[in-house]
Symmetry: C2
Subunit: 192 residues, 2 copies
Amino acid sequence: MMEFMSRWETDAPGRLQRAAVELFLERGFDQTTVAEIAARAGLTERTFFRYFSDKREVLFSGSKALEETLVQAIREAPPALAPIDVAGEAVVAVADLFEGRHEQVRLRSRIVDSHSELQERELIKMASLRSSLAGGLRARGVAEQTAAMAADLGIAVFSNAFQRWVAGSADRTFSAIAREALGELKAVAAGS
Amino acid sequence: MMEFMSRWETDAPGRLQRAAVELFLERGFDQTTVAEIAARAGLTERTFFRYFSDKREVLFSGSKALEETLVQAIREAPPALAPIDVAGEAVVAVADLFEGRHEQVRLRSRIVDSHSELQERELIKMASLRSSLAGGLRARGVAEQTAAMAADLGIAVFSNAFQRWVAGSADRTFSAIAREALGELKAVAAGS
């Protein structure tokens, strides 16, 4: 029984996320309750609220790890790297969070894209990522206006790469697509 | 009396906007009612609702003109212009909407920046502008991915230029700052 319980409790957040995504796709986001998500995952509502503040957060809990990964990559980038490449390498670094999760991320995006309240939440998370990127660049000594601009370009690389990765096949890695998007950004900015 | 009435009715939306900005700054956005805005402007609530759906829209009614100006400038840009410069020229073109209104726009920004619900609304309007920019570029025959990237870069130019213009003195024109921001974007993307 103990063994059963501990297996049962293993990766509760992941099970709740998978259950939530299934239900949001089956019934719609608005029509799904926390009680139903917990029941589908074979867990209690109390367990749900140990990990997520509400059903919306099930879809956005990954953004903290995304922000931390970006900021750490900025901090660890070689000192001589130009701000645009620091931002670009930071975007490439978030690939670690995505690889092997293509289908899961794709379904999550489908839910977010089909619901205006969730799209708004996504915009807010992106604005927060942008601030973290700019702050990380300033901490490296990049001048404020340059840091703001490079952060916007980093977010452009991220969002374009993310859209393409999600829309494409699972074979193409996020890091390859991010490097491609960074190259395209440079080409477009140069007047191609 | 007719003459008085017609003067009274002149520029009702502008008077409502100025009254709203005054009250939002004096009392806070949440503490201000439509009735108070109408009273301060010397107009009725009914007149208020002829122009604005709610008190929030008083701060965002300019975004339609912004979008139209951007889209028209994209349509009218010389055919040979690179997508980044089409987007850049479109941003420069919106200067017409800002010149002579520095103080008004500055106060409006101060209100929006101090209230999370209004900041969210601003993010949504920017996302909508971005879509219009991308759509305008695609209508010129720009490939989808290039259009998406150039639209993101155009929004980066706009938002950086807008922040600088609002924070700076009224002497500097938005168009000059937008051209400067476009030049900086190109320099940052090229690795400066």
